[in-house]
């Protein structure tokens, strides 16, 4: 009888230690999750700066825009859109963020664009950063606004 109790005790202690060790291991694992890259929901196929977007197509792509145009656009075409998601157009004049525009995408392929109105104070070098929903920069378009 004593022997049975002894074996039971050893087995219980061993099991207890095993559970404790495995729980500690889980905790450690839980504290340091693997930094796997978050897959993007879409692929950028085309990004251009243009004077206008007409019939879902960019018109007069350029790198220099006169302020006289009144408005310019950043046109983007996405493919492999796996699900409904968003992307962002960040408009910078020099290194100052002027505008952040959120755009919705729908599977499987989606065209979208953002625009800004041009004012006298807008002259200078600009860039538009196209970022996915995680904020990862997918493309940077550089252009200038002039007289």
């Amino acid at each position: 009888m004593h022997r049975v109790i002894k074996i039971f005790s050893i087995v219980s202690i061993s099991l207890g230690l095993l559970v404790a060790i495995s729980s500690v291991g889980l905790c450690v694992e839980g504290n340091n999750p693997p930094q796997a890259p978050v897959p993007s929901d879409c692929t950028l196929l085309e990004a251009v700066m243009c004077e206008e977007v007409s019939a879902q197509s960019p018109k007069n792509q350029s790198t220099v825009f006169s302020i006289a145009l009144g408005e310019i656009s950043c046109f983007t075409l996405f493919g492999s859109v796996s699900k409904e998601t968003v992307v962002y157009h960040y408009w910078f004049r020099r290194d100052t963020l002027i505008k952040r525009i959120q755009l919705h995408l729908n599977p499987p392929r989606w065209r979208t664009f953002s625009s800004i109105e041009l004012r006298e104070a807008d002259k200078g070098p600009w860039r538009v950063e196209i970022r996915d929903r995680n904020g990862i920069v997918m493309e940077i378009l550089r252009f200038s606004i002039t007289d």
Binding site: E51, E52, S54, K59, N60, Q61, S62, T63, V64, S66, A68, R94, D95, G124, P125, R127, I140, R142, S144, T146, D147
Partner: protein, 483 residues
């Protein structure tokens, strides 16, 4: 008592050196120029200056203005009027004598022989005119003399003034133990108060004595009397011993009596004390006079900066200092005499607040710091890092309405720059100098090399990175329908 102790504690070793040096210079000037007319006139002007200060303190506007004008011209007057005397004094002194020697004329003139000869000439009623020069040169006052350079002897002097001698009417000039000139013509005195029985010899003696420091001996041909002229004084000598004594006094201290040597010592001691007191008084006037306030703007200097860090920003570049001191010192302050140096030895990366204290400011002696503004300087330090940044082209002007710039390429697309980590972490792009669009008048591909502009200027190009890029751009004719 405690006030005296406090005052003594404020005296620096530089002040002691200052006072000692200037006292000695003043004393030396006295030693060199004493017994000259220039010195007497300088003393006169000094009294005039004191008089002016008193007039100012009493509020006598016109008097102080007039005296100020006179004293201002004093230096010029002294130099112009006494140029001959000053020049002769400086010429006859060597460097050692000017610095620490006590000028004494070398007495080599046989005084007793001269006195005896003059006495015999008087007894024989032989007219004579003998000049014993002092410190001053006589060249400008004595004319037509015949160079002689003969050793002084009784026989020679008698032969010079012998009635049949062709030079007996002129003066004999004795310097040292030689008769250097005979038959010299002296300037005649224009004085009206001379006795009527004085003839040309006496007037000539008085004339030279008035204009120089020479001693002139006259032996009257008619009365057989001996007359001495020195300065403006003329008097008759009866005894040979008196003449010898006067000659010794005129020639210097080498054969002076004990009493006169002691008098000279007392005189020099008194002069030294007066010099010290005068300079101490002036020092007080300069350093402890009425306070004058002045505000100056001084750039800040930084020292002991860690070589790995660099200054990227400061709250101020210069400080306003309110300073006080005597008017003379404050007016003579030059900006380069003042330095503000802040120690960056303990400064760290980021913003550092450094207190400006009196220890961090170097001021000229006698100047006191009253106020500093601002009293704290903020200095931002950063560690330089390297970063590769994309280059973006900047355009200016306006592209013709019929043209459109389709694309452009920049070579190299990125350049490496060095700068503070705080700045570079916030910098994502570097920009070129502006390229004008107005010059583009037709379609085509063009290439232009343009400089890259780094902002802020603390950024620099990394070694190997050029400060310019090549821009290739494509311009097309605009189509009506667009693309």
């Amino acid at each position: 008592m405690s006030k005296i102790m406090l005052f003594l504690l404020t005296i620096r070793w530089q002040d002691v050196v200052d006072i000692s040096l200037n006292s000695y210079i003043l004393f030396r000037l006295y030693v060199i120029f004493r017994n000259t007319n220039a010195f007497r006139v300088m003393i006169g002007f000094l009294f005039l200056w004191f008089f002016q200060r008193i007039a100012i303190s009493l509020g006598l506007i016109l008097t102080s203005w007039a005296v100020q004008g006179i004293t201002a011209a004093a230096a010029l007057i002294i130099i112009v009027v006494f140029r001959k005397e000053i020049r002769s004094i400086l010429q006859t002194r060597n460097f050692k004598t000017i610095l620490w020697g006590f000028p004494r004329r070398s007495i080599t003139t046989p005084v007793d022989l001269v006195a005896e000869t003059v006495h015999e000439l008087a007894q024989e009623k032989t007219g004579a005119l003998i000049v014993i020069p002092g410190n001053e040169e006589l060249k400008e006052d004595v004319h037509s003399g015949i160079p002689w350079q003969g050793l002084v002897s009784k026989e020679m002097l008698k032969s010079v003034f012998w009635l049949d001698s062709p030079v007996h009417d002129g003066a004999a000039i004795i310097r040292g133990d030689r008769v250097i000139e005979v038959g010299a013509v002296l300037p005649l005195s224009q004085r009206k108060d001379l006795p009527s029985y004085y003839g040309t010899r006496h007037r000539a003696a008085a004339g030279l004595a008035e204009s120089t420091d020479a001693l002139v001996i006259v032996v009257s041909e008619e009365r057989g009397s001996i007359t001495i002229a020195k300065g403006s004084r003329i008097h008759t000598i009866k005894r040979q011993e008196d003449l010898a004594k006067i000659l010794r006094q005129h020639m210097g201290s080498g054969e002076k009596e004990k009493g006169s040597v002691r008098r000279e010592k007392i005189e020099l001691t008194a002069a030294a004390m007066v010099s010290v007191l005068f300079i101490v008084g002036m020092w007080f006037g300069f350093t402890r006079g009425l306070d004058t306030l002045i505000t100056v703007e001084i750039p800040v200097e930084y020292m002991n900066r860690n070589a790995k860090m660099e200054i990227v920003d400061t709250s101020v570049n210069s400080l306003r200092l309110d300073l006080s001191g005597s008017r003379a010192i404050v007016n003579s302050i030059r900006p380069e005499q003042i330095r503000v140096r802040l120690d960056l030895g303990d400064a760290a990366v980021g913003k550092n607040r450094l207190a400006v204290t009196s220890e961090t400011i170097d001021l000229p002696p006698g100047v006191v710091l009253k106020k500093v503004e601002p009293s704290v300087v903020e200095v931002v330090l950063d560690v330089p890092i390297r970063k590769v940044l994309p280059v973006q082209v900047v355009w200016t002007g306006r592209l013709g309405d019929h043209l459109i710039m389709r694309r452009l390429e920049v070579e190299p697309e990125k350049i490496e720059v060095i700068g503070g980590s705080r700045i570079l972490n916030e910098t994502s792009t570097v920009y070129t100098d502006a390229i004008p669009l107005d010059v583009i008048d037709k379609a085509g591909m063009r290439t232009v090399t343009v400089g890259v502009f780094l902002n802020p200027p603390t950024l620099t190009f990394a070694p190997g990175s050029k400060g310019s890029v090549t821009v290739k751009y494509y311009v097309e004719e605009r189509k009506a329908s667009g693309s």
